[in-house]
Amino acid sequence: MKTSKIWIIDDNPIDSYIVKTMLELNELSKDIHVFSNNKEALDSLEELNEDNSDGPIHIITENKTNAVNGWKLIKKMSNKFYEKKQKFNLKFHMTSEKYTEDDFEKFEKTDPLCSINKKPLRLDHLINMLQY
């Protein structure tokens, strides 16, 4: 099975640890990056530019916390790529303990967002995400 490049952006280290460990143990990915806030993730975009991998990058982000706002992250990343006229195959996955109606509406309208998942994440959630 071809493994994918995965970014985990979550300010809760326990969540990040569980996701990262589950992915590794099940050999779903060998290229996993964990960020605890948006800024770190955006800063790492440069790293992506140099990478010539043509496979998809799955970005598992959080709905809304103090340090991470998945919606803003999607917008900012998309804008950055649009400005640089680069075409990366970015697949965003939202995670949260709780969603509002508003979030579901945004999900419909946000193209690069592939899935919306309820925490705690289980293995089947992750496998499902990587299907996109």
Partner: protein
């Protein structure tokens, strides 16, 4: 003898010619023998001398009846009439007083006739006009219920016109009597006054015009206007006369109007509502009541010197004046407008006003009546309520935010725990299991911490706070000594600028917690490249105490975080102790004591937190 006789005749004829009346001598053949000049004038004859002329030639219109009359006279009859109308051939009418007699010659035989006439046309016309006027007057008086009367003071006769009798509800054939007539007037004031007036008129020739009450023959009570005057001849009253008018209806209306006016006056004077009456054109105040003087804190006399425009807010006046034009043009029937009054002591009074127009007898706007109700208290209460509601809304928002955060955090921990347990069960690797247990431990601690935080916040919302007067200088020093342990490791300066006697009214545990938190924050988020300087200032401003804590630390980017700075679980710098609860708690504590907290900050320069209690 004959000569003397002829001379006599000639003299007499001369006298006749000059006579001031129209006189003519005719012979038996009705030819003129002699006539006065006046004769030709009165009959407008074209000749001045008509001697020898035939009477019927001069007056061809003379009727057969008159011709017979002439014949009778020539036989000795005498004819006369005091007033007779003659229509001349040119159509003119002439009223004449005339007499025709035969005249006799020496032999005592009828020699002809003498015609004497007097033109009384103008007198007759005048009299007839007077009669007509009199009839019109009488009819008008009757219709207007104005009766007339006269009293002959010589023979004691009293005359009442039919209208006078009708006013007394008496039959037309009633014969009034001076001694009883006065008894129709009501006993007491009315009768006394008319009696006195009658006597004064009789003795001093004073006319009178009185409004009196009388009781009619049928026992009805009416009001009359009695006018009387006297005719005096040689200092003696010969006659008294006057008119008599039923004014009951007018009196009734007057009474009603007086009653209404009295009611209005009572309302106007004693009303709790301010009322001003002003001229519709100049807008000068014509009359004001006490209530208005109280509302605008000006004496009545000063108010009456002012115009409406001077008393009220300029913008309100423009708005009101605009509406006034519509009112005066009858596009609306009143103006209802909230208006701000500028009082003499410079304060502003909020009022609700209603303005109506009073019209003159021609229906033109004359005066404006403005009712003014002081609604300052309501307005203030409203504003206070608004502030209160806003505060409640803010509190509610904070609570909602708090509930959201708490539920999110609790959920986050419970989700962690459940996620970890699942993962634990699915894994066999000992290393990972150990790691998971350690994480479960962390998660459990975090859950406890969150519940503690929650408890702290809830405590602020529910604690009964007791405000004390705290000497601030020593209070701050005590706080500084309690946190000095933390400061030992730092290179710092603290400048205290608090007057010794400054007292602040606050709840000591909250004030301590808030100040301690702000000072600790300044230490925590210091700029490592600078020596830390904290300035703590406090002073009294009006009824509030202002405390400011200024540092030269890292600062916060307010353009990004302004709204979040006092939010729960918001952190702006990476620091091990940052839990995102400090400023949230501080704000809640300050607000619980009725104070406010604000912040000014710039990244790289430092922050200043200002507390106002």
């Amino acid at each position: 003898m004959a000569q003397e006789y002829n001379k006599n005749i000639s003299d007499q004829i001369n006298i006749l010619i000059q006579a001031p009346i129209a006189v003519a001598f005719l012979d038996n053949n009705l030819r003129y023998v002699a006539h006065s000049v006046k004769w030709c004038e009165d009959y407008k004859l074209q000749y001045t001398d008509i001697k020898g002329m035939y009477h019927y030639d001069l007056f061809p219109e003379i009727s057969d009846e008159w011709k017979e009359k002439h014949q009778r006279v020539l036989k000795g009859a005498e004819e006369s009439c005091d007033e007779e109308l003659f229509t001349r051939k040119d159509g003119t009418e002439q009223w004449l007083k005339w007499s025709v007699k035969p005249w006799y010659n020496y032999d005592n035989e009828i020699a002809g006739m003498i015609i004497i006439s007097e033109d009384i046309t103008s007198k007759v016309i005048l009299r007839k006009r007077d009669q007509l006027d009199y009839r019109i007057l009488l009819s008008a008086c009757t219709k207007a219920k104005i009766g007339t009367w006269h009293y002959n003071n010589i023979n004691g006769e009293l005359y009442w016109s039919n209208a006078t009798k009708a006013l007394h509800e008496l039959p037309e054939d009633y014969q009034p009597d001076a001694s009883t007539a006065i008894l129709f007037y009501k006993e007491g004031e009315s009768r006394d006054r008319i009696t006195q007036a009658f006597i004064n008129s009789l003795t001093k020739n004073e006319s009178y015009d009185l409004e009196l009450e009388l009781t009619t023959a049928k026992g009805n009570s009416i009001w009359v206007r009695a006018i009387g005057q006297s005719d005096f001849v040689n200092g003696v009253c010969h006659r008294q006369y006057g008119t008599f008018e039923d004014i009951s209806e007018r009196k009734r209306k007057e009474h009603l109007s007086n009653l209404n006016s009295e009611k209005f006056q009572k309302l106007f004077r004693n009303s709790k509502v301010g009322v001003a009456i002003m001229d519709a054109t100049t807008l000068k105040l014509l009359d004001v009541n006490k209530a208005l003087a109280t509302i605008v804190k000006l004496e009545n006399t000063k108010l009456l010197d002012s115009s409406f425009e001077e008393l009220i807010d300029k913008q309100d006046f423009c708005l009101w004046f605009d509406k006034l034009q519509k009112l005066l043009n009858r596009k609306c029937d009143h103006i209802k407008l909230p208006i701000k009054f500028n009082t003499s002591d410079g304060s502003i009074i909020y009022t609700q006003t209603i303005c109506n127009v009073l019209e003159d007898e021609y229906g033109e706007p004359e005066n404006l009546v403005i009712q003014i109700i002081d609604i300052t208290n309501e307005k203030t209460a409203n504003q206070e309520r608004k502030v209160f509601v806003e505060e409640i809304m803010r509190k509610n928002d904070r609570l909602m935010n708090f509930a959201y955060i708490v539920s999110h955090n609790l959920r986050s921990h419970s989700s962690n725990i459940s996620g970890l347990i699942n993962f634990y069960l699915e894994n066999d690797e000992a290393d990972i299991k150990t790691k998971i247990i350690s994480m479960l431990n962390d998660s459990s601690k975090n859950l406890n911490k969150t519940i503690e935080d929650l408890n702290q916040v809830v405590t602020i919302q529910t604690t009964q706070i007791n405000i004390d007067s705290i000497p601030l200088h020593s209070f701050v020093q005590k706080i500084l000594s309690s946190i000095s342990l933390e400061l030992l490791n730092s290179d710092y300066t603290i400048n205290l600028d608090i007057q010794d006697h400054l007292i602040i009214d606050a709840f000591p545990p909250y004030l301590e917690s808030a100040l301690s938190n702000l000072i600790t924050n300044s230490i925590k988020y210091r700029d490592q490249n600078k020596s830390l300087i904290i300035e703590i200032k406090a002073f009294q401003e009006d009824e509030n105490c202002i405390i400011s804590i200024k540092d030269n630390g890292l600062g916060i980017d307010l353009s990004r975080h302004q709204e979040k700075i006092f939010g729960m679980y918001k952190t702006f710098h990476t620091h091990d102790d940052a839990n995102g609860l400090g400023l949230f708690m501080t704000k809640n504590q300050i607000e619980a004591m009725g104070g406010t907290i604000s912040v000014k900050s710039e990244v790289g320069i430092g922050s200043t937190f200002t507390i106002k209690i």
